[in-house]
């Protein structure tokens, strides 16, 4: 009986305040969709870091004959066999280094051809113009600086290039995107809370007769407040369900099927369903608790118990 009574009160309240309820649902849904999206983006960045950091190298490019004329780093001429040996020996002595591979001019030419194929520029390139290089795999990709400071400016070395710095630009961009998403989320959630406070206030005002009688006959504070708080929580929960559905729909139609980015962008290792599913309970909990909290705060001010 009690539950039925409370439930019918919630239904009446939500319908009486339909426009405000709708606004609450939409703003909660939007903010939590952003919240979930931003959580997933963090996962995505983490996953991409793990995947790419495994594959990236630090490249030590060695001087060739044509560099010797144009590049001040190579003023002393093309790299010699002795220089190469000492560089290799030094690299192998360093503890941060995991693995070193040598790429000859011919191999570099072959890779170049593979990458740029039949472009007009590729046709004019000869193996002579390619650079020999050492590809250094680090135990920890963050320790690029150790290699750079040891080999930059050394005889026979043209430049030291860290592939991680290229990726890091991407990750920084994604990081900012994430921050922006969370900022918008915070604003939307604040709007949602203000809407809830207002909804509860209107609701409490329109039911002041009932609540007045409830007080006089000795209904407990909880019993008087529960319908209002549940009203806010139920509206929020509907928003949370919408936000969760949105994430599921995006994962299904944009990543897996439909637009199917996962097959179109095989280089990016997208987060899977497990990541999406684990966010949903969190979103639902937030969608329920935050409006309930906002409702409670509103009642403290607008409903005498």
């Amino acid at each position: 009986m009690r539950a039925q009574f409370v439930l019918s009160e919630i239904g009446v309240g939500l319908r009486r305040n339909l426009t405000m309820t709708f606004a609450v649902i939409v703003s909660v849904a939007l903010s939590l969709a952003l919240f979930g999206g931003s959580l997933l983006l963090s996962d995505q960045v983490g996953k991409m870091k793990g995947y790419w950091y495994d594959k990236i190298n630090v490249s030590i490019y060695l001087c060739n004959k044509s560099n010797a004329e144009s590049d001040p780093n190579c003023a002393k001429g093309a790299v010699t066999e002795d220089q190469k040996k000492s560089i290799l020996a030094d690299l192998q002595k360093m503890t941060v280094v995991d693995k070193v591979t040598y790429e000859s001019q011919d191999e570099a030419y072959k890779h170049y051809k593979e990458q740029f194929g039949n472009s007009p520029l590729a046709a004019s390139i000869t193996p002579d113009q390619m650079q020999e290089s050492y590809r250094v795999k680090l135990k920890n990709p963050e320790q690029y600086q150790v290699i750079a400071s040891a080999f930059n400016g050394r005889d026979g070395v043209q430049s030291v290039q860290d592939q991680k710095s290229i990726l890091d630009n991407l990750f920084t961009l994604l990081g900012y995107l994430n921050l922006a998403a969370r900022g918008v989320m915070a604003v939307m959630l604040t709007v949602a809370m203000l809407l809830i406070v207002n909804t509860v206030r209107v609701s409490a005002f329109s039911r002041r007769r009932e609540t007045g009688i409830m007080r006089l006959v000795g209904a407990s504070g909880f019993y008087i407040q529960a319908p209002f708080i549940m009203e806010a929580a139920v509206a929020g929960l509907i928003g949370g369900i919408l936000a969760s559905s949105f994430l599921v729909v995006v994962q299904y139609f944009v990543i897996d099927h439909g637009v199917s980015l996962s097959t179109k962008l095989p280089l990016i290792n997208f987060v899977g369903w497990d990541a999406v599913i684990t966010k949903i309970p969190l979103i639902l909990a937030v969608s329920f608790l935050i409006p309930a909290l906002a409702g409670l705060l509103a009642l403290r001010k607008y409903l005498k118990v």
């Binding site: 009986m1 007769r209 009932e210 007045g212 009688i213 006959v217 000795g218 407990s220 504070g221």
Partner: protein, 229 residues
Amino acid sequence: MIRFDNVSKVYPKQTRPALRDVSLEVEKGEFVFLVGSSGSGKSTFLRLILREERCSHGQVHVLGKDLARLSNWKVPQMRRQLGTVFQDFRLLPNKTVAENVAFAQEVIGKSQGEIRKSVPQVLDLVGLGGKEDRMPGELSGGEQQRVAIARAFVNRPKLLIADEPTGNLDPQTSVGIMKLLDRINRTGTTVVMATHDQNIVDQMRKRVIELEKGRLVRDQARGVYGYQH
């Protein structure tokens, strides 16, 4: 049942106290009229009993409890032993007579079986048997006040507070309401009634407490209304 010890009440932002040093006692089973002109402190007196307000000085005991020491969450339990009736009835217009009375039981968690039993009983007591399914808007003022009394009495309170229950009713209807309150009083329920109705007070010959500018100026057993407008 009710004991006031040197009770004063000053509302915030007001210099003149609404009640000044009022001491009195109301025994179990008494019927008490509270009279006095508007602004004399009658409403404050009733609000202190209901613990809608707390007194500024002194002590208010209701049903053996010191209201100043009663924590907020225990107030509902205390109010379940009180019934309240107002001049403006305060019925829910979108609920039937029976639902209005049942509301008072539903919101304190009484079982459906108990409600089904006690609502017709109390409606018979107030003389509204057969009108369970009418809406308040379809009833006369006297009948609406009977519904309100039924709602106040359905939980069998030990104390009934009535704030000018006949204020909106014609003399003949008022007599009917007074007979009903008298009957309720005879079941052992203490009744405290604030009123401006001289005829009623003079006819009933019950204890009369008169307030004037917040002071207790008269406390008379079997009294009359006594003061002129």
